[in-house]
């Protein structure tokens, strides 16, 4: 499978996430779109890892070339889990104060 197909797929998923962040006003949906963008990047990292692995695979079948990207994806998942717990706590706190999850209430830093 050409690497370009994977790049196009991940770019499409990432752009859908960007559009979601720009278009929706529900803070939870915006947060979910950020998760979607993170997952698109993860998929692209794994695809690149397998691309470099495939280049070395023909000569040495047990090569571990490109394993760093998969470790990196693992750490991205770790950080995303921590980020989600704190972010959802912030959204719950905001809902308690304003009784709404509308992100347009969050413009108090503007002035």
């Amino acid at each position: 499978m050409p690497i370009l197909n994977y790049i196009y797929l991940c770019l499409t998923l990432f752009s859908i996430g960007v559009i979601g962040v720009l278009v929706r006003r529900n803070a939870i949906i915006v947060f979910m779109c950020i998760e979607l963008m993170l997952n698109a990047v993860n998929l692209l990292l794994v695809a690149f890892s397998k691309m470099y692995n495939g280049a070395a695979f023909a000569n040495a079948p047990t090569t571990t070339m490109g394993i760093d990207a998969q470790i990196f994806v693992f750490f991205i998942m770790v950080v995303a889990a921590a980020e989600v717990s704190v972010g959802l706590a912030i959204i719950v706190m905001m809902y308690r104060n304003t009784h709404s999850v509308d992100i347009n209430f969050l413009n108090r830093l503007k002035n």
């Binding site: 050409p2 929706r24 979910m32 794994v46």
Partner: protein, 166 residues
């Protein structure tokens, strides 16, 4: 077209359709369920590339833990779907235009990079996605970041509890 290509295109179409449905469904609970389907499609891609450990971790962590957390928060908040404020049509239109031009620009850039032409992804073979090489690398070369991530989790836990208690 062989089986791998059919699987690739089917999973890609499934992921993109589900991602669009995350955006356009009015009920937040439906959005969460569609996002779980996106994560399952991405896990299918990982399995296709023989990254078995990441596929399982993706299902357990994302589809299992994070999405359940989202569902809990939505159910706690009792968000009514007709109460959700909508952006003006002009703002929505501008958002879609901005995202679409980002996509077009990036595709045009990627298409003319010479380093990526003719490179292929190794499907269904290779051992780096299995748990044995990954565990070896994680506990030898990457043991310090691994331990630091436990501190990160502890601080996230403390932070979530402190923010939630107020």
């Amino acid at each position: 077209m062989n089986t791998l290509e059919i699987l690739f295109y089917a999973l890609s179409a499934f992921a993109i359709v589900s991602a669009v449905m995350v955006l356009i469904s009015k009920n937040p609970i439906h959005s969460v369920l569609w996002l779980i389907l996106v994560f399952f499609a991405i896990s299918g891609h990982y399995i296709l590339m023989n990254a078995q450990f990441l596929a399982i971790v993706n299902i357990i962590v994302y589809a299992g833990a994070i999405m359940v957390l989202f569902l809990f928060v939505i159910m706690l908040m009792n968000v009514k779907k007709d109460k959700e404020p909508q952006k003006q049509h002009l703002v929505k239109f501008i958002g879609v235009i901005a995202g679409g031009s980002f996509l077009t620009l990036m595709i045009a850039l990627v298409k003319q990079t010479s380093q990526l032409q003719g490179k292929t992804v190794l499907l269904k073979e290779g051992t780096i996605g299995l748990i044995h090489p990954l565990g070896k690398a994680l506990f030898s070369d990457y043991v310090v970041p691994f331990e630091i991530s436990s501190v990160l989790f502890l601080s996230a836990m403390v932070g979530a509890v402190i923010i939630g208690k107020k």
